[in-house]
Symmetry: C2
Subunit: 216 residues, 2 copies
């Protein structure tokens, strides 16, 4: 059972902690603010009040037992720098750090962060792609040329089944899932019928996905 330590329970930190906790993983949340520590003990159970830049505290945590350590204090570069350096020295397996801008991110990576997150920038890129995809569903880039996205079924597909559509041959896309009335059919068989209102998850070249989203 993997366990994680989250240092700093701001909006980003608590979101990571809560997500992991809800998935069933063991999470330890750390914050200097007593009110926050008490508030979140009802949500992720294991919280402790401490200064994340304290070497003594971090040494007492047996950092090596965590699959990853998340440094989620973005507004104070000194705090995140110190915590990152200490975690690296204590042999943390994987350090993920939140940063406010590219420069801060570079510094943290040079000092040992394995991955740096810039929330506003990273989500901005995702949102930009979603808006362009016209369907406002998740768009995942598989490679510079290919992506996975969800589109509303083109009207000309209503009543046809996967076999008849021959999507790969005719449209160059691979149909990964068909969602109809809240029910999602993943890796659908050839007999699966597309209905009005179906949401189709497809994989293909960006140009082909663009063409498909404008198909009548």
């Amino acid at each position: 059972m993997k366990s994680f330590i989250v240092l700093g329970l701001g909006r980003f930190g608590i979101s990571v902690a809560q997500t992991l906790y809800d998935m069933g993983y063991e999470v330890l949340g750390v914050d200097a603010d007593e009110k926050i520590v008490n508030e979140y003990s009802r949500h992720i159970v294991h919280t402790v009040q401490a200064d994340i830049t304290s070497e003594e505290f971090l040494k007492s945590m047996d950092i090596k037992r965590f699959a990853a350590a998340v440094v989620s204090v973005g507004s104070n570069i000194q705090v995140s720098i110190m915590a990152t350096v200490l975690l690296k020295e204590l042999g943390a397996k994987f350090i993920l750090a939140k940063a406010q801008d590219d420069f801060q991110g570079k510094i943290l990576q040079k000092l040992g962060a394995d991955k740096v997150i810039l929330p506003e920038k990273d989500i901005g890129i995702k949102v930009g792609h979603n808006l362009a995809a016209e369907s406002f569903f998740d768009l995942v880039e598989i490679s510079p040329e290919y992506s996975i996205t969800s589109i509303e079924s083109p009207p000309s597909w209503y009543g046809k089944n996967i076999g008849q559509l021959a999507a790969r041959t005719k449209y160059g896309v691979n149909i990964l899932a068909v969602k109809c009335q809240q029910k999602t059919n993943v890796m659908p068989g050839a007999g699966t019928v597309i209905e009005k209102g179906s949401i189709i998850t497809v994989l293909g070249k960006n140009d082909d996905l663009e063409k498909l989203s404008t198909l009548e």
Copy 2:
């Protein structure tokens, strides 16, 4: 050619604007700060200095011509509320607004925002899933049971081709792409060989993906 208007060029706003601009879409960036307007005119070309809460300004923008309007001023709820309400009245096709917390997000949705983004919270959820996925690559949930993730090729797969692996029959997963030395082969043919160090993007049930990531 779709065009977008981004109101507020903070880190989130400029990231959305830059992403859309780099994809070839027409973007208009608006900010009250002259320095920012000049700075970004070199990056997204069309920027204008204005107060996004000014009804006169928004009326002069012919808001209906934009595929979407992004309200990206998160720190001042009054500004984002006013801008959202005005955009709704002017018939904006799609309003995406940035919010600082769930409560602010609810208010904006009630006032007309079609989609609300909470950067720290939304990216925290994504990061939580990536950390749990063990491979720290993108994990996309297709449905409550199925996800798409990238894993390092299991050693027992080295030297085998896609046809020999029969991944769907043997492991219950659909191989969507194989990345070898920076080169990504999407919708790989049966003859594609898996090499040491290959990164494989797979679709399957969460339990099957978990088993695969621990395969020898």
